[in-house]
Symmetry: C2
Subunit: 349 residues, 2 copies
């Protein structure tokens, strides 16, 4: 945790190092907690995290980038605590995140996660659903059993966050059922904040709680994480349209082919422009071929959806920094958090 903010912000290498160190610090706790799950549920969880093959033999896979645990540890450090004391909180947040992935993959009928078949395609829906349920309870159990004085407040906060994540995912599914133009940009922003921003905010808030921070600091860290999370989602949505298939592992325009109502798409659909109407006409089809996907991407761009999303992401990052500065005036102490926020909004896959 000796990376300076200057290093981090300028080249992104600081964030990569931070994530490496977070995984090294949190992985043992995370893994031993997952290994405490009963029999068949443990097997699904071990597979999902990439630690085992479907047949139970060991796998060397990586359990994810660990952005959320890194935010917990960085927030604790920014507020003067030893991040080592917040390792259980970091593991709990990662468990909660992975619970949502397990259930989202079922609901969204996604077949691939981290370049492997999703758990429900391997073990069936009942096993994947129960493993997700158990992982959610495990996250809260880890906090409830932690003797740290902040653990009770952290458990309450994470539980509230899980409810918000569920509401975000529910809204996302509901939007897919509505016609083009029937989802407002405000609704879409609220959904993205609940589905992505809430847990990044909660991660930062838990780090602050574990540092013994007061209510205002905790709220400021939460707001920082939420705005960074919204920026992250906006960039993710741009990648879902214009990302490089070689880097994303998905075909170009995957989100358009699935007619997802992502933020740039909704911005275009609600733009009142002729290009927005073209996009609505394309989205009214039952399926989009490669040519239609290209036409849709072009329409989003001409309707201003791409520029809007980029500007809105920059705007969110600006607000995130303002929130952070309220709680951590010393930019050097806040360096890790800034590096992580920059990292998630600059990534290209």
């Amino acid at each position: 945790m000796t990376v300076t903010s200057a290093d981090a912000v300028t080249d992104g290498q600081g964030a990569v190092l931070l994530l490496d160190r977070t995984r090294a610090a949190v992985h043992p706790e995370l893994r031993s907690t997952v290994e405490s799950l009963p029999g068949s549920i443990r097997r699904v969880a071990m597979y999902h995290f990439g630690w085992e093959q479907a047949d139970g033999t060991p796998a060397a896979g990586q359990a994810g980038k660990a952005i959320r645990p890194a935010l917990v540890l960085a927030a604790a450090r920014a507020l003067g605590a030893d991040p080592a004391h917040a390792v259980k909180a970091a593991a709990a947040v990662e468990l909660a995140h992975n619970f949502t992935l397990l259930h989202d993959d079922i609901v969204d009928e996604d077949h691939t996660r981290r370049h492997r078949p999703t758990a429900w395609t391997v073990f069936g829906i009942p096993d994947a659903l129960m493993a997700g349920d158990a992982m959610s309870a495990l996250a809260l159990r880890l906090l409830a059993e932690d003797p740290h004085p902040a653990s009770g407040a952290a458990a309450a906060r994470l539980a509230a966050c899980v409810i918000e994540l569920c509401a975000g995912q529910q809204a996302d599914c509901a939007f897919e059922q509505r016609g083009p133009g029937e989802v407002s940009l405000d609704e879409c922003l609220a959904m993205a904040t609940a589905k992505t921003g809430a847990l990044l905010g909660c991660a930062c808030a838990l780090g602050a709680l574990y540092a013994g921070a007061g209510e205002e600091e905790v709220a400021a860290l939460d707001a920082f994480g939420r705005e960074a999370g919204l920026a992250f989602q906006l960039i993710d949505d741009l990648i879902g349209i214009w990302g490089d298939p070689d880097r994303t592992g998905k075909p170009a325009g995957a989100d358009l082919a699935a007619r997802k109502k992502s933020l740039p798409v909704v911005a275009a659909l609600t733009s009142g422009t002729p290009a927005g109407e073209e996009l609505a006409a394309l989205y009214s089809r039952t399926a989009l071929d490669a040519a239609a996907v290209r036409a849709a991407a072009d329409a989003v761009e001409r309707a201003g959806g791409r520029d809007w999303a980029q500007a809105r992401a920059a705007d969110s990052m600006g607000r995130a920094v303002e929130h952070l500065a309220r709680a951590v005036p010393d930019l050097d102490a806040a360096g890790d958090l800034l590096a992580l926020a920059e990292f998630v909004t600059r990534r290209t896959r």
Copy 2:
């Protein structure tokens, strides 16, 4: 809470009164907590509890018998506490129970719950799944936010119980996929203990925790609830075969028609008797008509499955009482708990 154990055990009216009083005491907390859920998730939850119709208009339905909350309050009282202080714990246990119902109905593809269409058939799987997820987190949030000194330990215990419930449901689903004779009676008893006993045990343990009881008393109350829960499941399985359709609302032999590996069935299948082999042959069919269901019920009985289940239920109740007597030697103080245990194992629907 003035019912004496003598009243209760003899005629069951005491338990009915206890349940009525529990609903009156816990319902406001339960309802206001559910109403705190965000938008669409609240709607699914309000429907599930019978408080709203599918279109959101009010319904006068009953939210369930409230056996688990009644156990929380009765356990608190048995150990000398004012049950009013354990109302949040009682509501949390009922939320956790209803979370499992929402998800079990999805996994089991059940269409009817409390004489109404199940939530997933009304709102779709994504909404019902997310509502269950949120309800699980809400249960733990209610405890984590409760200022009562026992709330942290209670949250940890309920989270551990949720994990066990998931393992039980997972095992239940896995057993359905195996052939007749491929599930041992011990496996089946362990599954029923996890799926049904664990939450009844947890309810009693939470009541004890809220009464400030020591570890041994909490463990004894947990063991009491677990054994009573196993007896409850055994009786439930007998009703699933020989229950009166007019009372159960299900066709006679519903569990046999679905070829469920319930406890009396597994006892028969593993009996080594000719009748057990007849049953295995019937269970190897793809579907059982009414005549086959009658033949299967007859085979379970001749193989000794019915007698075994009745004897095992009585045995569990005996053990339950022994556990209870360890923690609450005064039979009068333990009266409500005994009345509830008798009620759940004597009910005919």
